[in-house]
Amino acid sequence: MALTKDPDRLGTGPEDATAVSSDATAQPSLPAVRPSDALTTPIVVRNTLWQAADPAAYDGGQPADITHLAEFGASELGRRDDARWSGVLEVIPTKADYVLDLIRMNSLWPLLSGLACCAIEMMSAATSKNDMDRWGMFPFRASPRQADVLIVAGTLTTKMAGPLVRLWEQMPEPKWCVALGDCTCSGGRYKRSYSTVEGIDRVMPVDVYVPGCPPRPEGLIYGMMKLQQLVKDRRGHWPERAIGPTVPEQV
């Protein structure tokens, strides 16, 4: 039932399915989005900008098939309070997804990918004095196949951009990206240089930006806590994400 909507039509807009108000039990879709819903409904943007190297990756580009539980929840078999959420189920979480998100948020495993100076602050945030292990982020995995979060710490150069995107592609979903330091947010002090990429959001989707040169370890920890919030609110888990500055319509 959930996949009856055309995935190409997902997005914010008056005729959009996410515009269904959550407490209307048997209503047809309202013509307009209520302003109070705009910030809580997740923004789903179809990704047409970035393609994986292999056309069969990510299910060949089809929307994520996470409807097993959602279907069950939407059907009459599910006797739950939130059975009224029978709208577009890809984006409205069920209780099981809520638990899954709690699990994911408390054990985000970063990938060891320190490029430059911010890597030292990342290591400092992971060691005894500012301990990231308190939130489950201690195991810095060396292999991208086992990692959840890519904390890009340090300047990204054009030579390294290829390997870094390859690392990003090798990470399995769900995955998030944290841009640590000014150089990854916007190019930083190397903005006019001939060999740096001005911000990693030019080549990969970023979830959290942590500015600073370098940011204090407490700043990185704050950024990771924001990421945890994102994960919990399912605002981070978009099967399709865009690259580049995204400007929501209402903003």
Binding site: T158, R192, S193
Partner: protein, 182 residues
Amino acid sequence: MDRPLKVRLERRFADQLTGPVRQRHDETEIRIGPGDVIQVITALHDEPEFRFEFLADLAGVDTGEIMQVVYHLWSTTTTDWLRVIADGLSRDDPRVPSVTFMWKGAEWMEREAYDMFGITFEGNRDLRRIYLPPDYQSFPLRKDFFLPDDAARSPGGGVRPMERTHTPRNAPPTATVRRAGA
């Protein structure tokens, strides 16, 4: 400032020096032509009155009109740094003999000078780009390489018009910038 050193250098390398021996603070500077590099460096390294056995730095310089390769040497016989400038390389095809026969550690320094300026070191067994990707077309530290106009060739930046505010839009592509002091 080691004045006896200046006297010794002027006496020994009278034919190869292309300019006066200059001293300032704690540096002594001699200028030679690119063809004399091997001879002068070997003499400075081997002869007992000089014994400049420690290569401190190897750099390339683009003056806008000519190119230079600058060697900095250190010796136990003097407290000064010795700067040897191989002067007068043309900007179109700068070639200079390599000093890797004497110091193998100069290999990467010469590779870097090649990468940044295009200076060819004859005798370096490994003269390829060291910092930039191997398919990069230009030599960034040359004076006719403008940030960020030439950087537009790299995906890193300089594409949007608002990013080109650093250099004037009507700068000619092969402009010679400033002249260095003598």
